[in-house]
Symmetry: C2
């Protein structure tokens, strides 16, 4: 199977053509409608997922019905529930499509084999993991120390192109602030 966008992405990361071919060959493409779920809380996350186009989000719904968003995954990024995938235990979160999306999926056994057999992919994956750790650390620090205004400011600096793609309630659910507070912050900004 050819997956041209994904192959371009891998080549940009300096993977050799043979590695690109091997990785791409094991991917299965899938389309998701807007709001379609890829993983529901309680299921086991069995696939590594690359987003070719569209936008996914990882979230949970608390007892009171409030949505909390752990992560957005736009085109050219990866997503999964890492603990459920690594340990093959039920996921505490769901993954769904915010926009109509095209994704590539690898079964865990296939991706594990690729990691073992393609040193370039292993190295590339380690780089992704490091960035993930750095970002998580920054996000924890922000959640502890930043005001709602600073959280929003950081969000628009970090993800400038998300603003036009996401409803306000999702940005609020990602920042851990209420829609009311977010609306107030945006209103104050517009008045500056």
């Amino acid at each position: 199977m050819m997956h041209p966008e994904f192959e371009t992405y891998l080549r940009r990361s300096d993977l050799a053509e043979e590695a690109v071919r091997k990785i791409s060959d094991l991917a299965v493409a899938r389309k998701l409608r807007r709001n379609e779920l890829l993983l529901s809380a309680g299921e086991i996350c069995r696939h590594k997922v690359f987003v070719v186009s569209g936008l996914l989000h990882t979230f949970n719904i608390s007892a009171g019905g409030t949505q909390h968003i752990l992560q957005f995954a736009p085109e050219n990024s990866w997503t999964l529930d890492v603990e459920s995938y690594d340990r093959q235990i039920p996921s505490q979160v769901s993954i769904g499509a915010v926009e109509p999306s095209t994704i590539l999926c690898w079964q865990k056994k296939d991706f594990d084999m690729l990691l073992a057999e393609v040193p370039q992919l292993k190295k590339f994956a380690e780089g992704l993991i490091a960035r993930n750790i750095h970002y998580s650390r920054k996000r924890i620090l922000i959640s502890l120390s930043a005001t709602p205004e600073e959280k929003y400011e950081d969000f628009i600096q970090t993800f400038p192109d998300y603003l036009a793609r996401l409803p306000l309630r999702m940005i609020a659910a990602y920042l851990g602030i209420s829609i009311k507070t977010l609306t107030r912050i945006r209103h104050a900004q517009l008045q500056r």
Copy 2:
């Protein structure tokens, strides 16, 4: 150099004797007084650190003077500022001793060499990284969705032995709640 506690820790993780020797030989022991800083915000984190005894914490101080705690590192755990260490850029956080502590330090170049030459250490380090990612993810989810009561409850479940070792203000600084709120929660619990 012999570092018996550390070597016992590595052997428990199934590292072979030759690997244990090689890793231990490159460690330099250091003692920290209570409140002594190992790394100050703005410095570059140049060492991988294992805590033999005592308790360290990673924190930052916001503009208003409030301390926020990213991580505690008790005996038999590792600590560093991961982004500063990986990229050798100035750290945004400080690391200091909450209790008088004994630590082992490896220079980055030595530890990188060990990771490249000791496959068992590489595998062991990957396990630590995975646990770190799972825990960070859980912490972000809790910071988004849990009430202060739930945050405190999770803390005492996850770290039962920290309660007696930490001043309340540090627990509050880790949970991202005020001391006033924390005191109210503990008071309510005692009355149950």
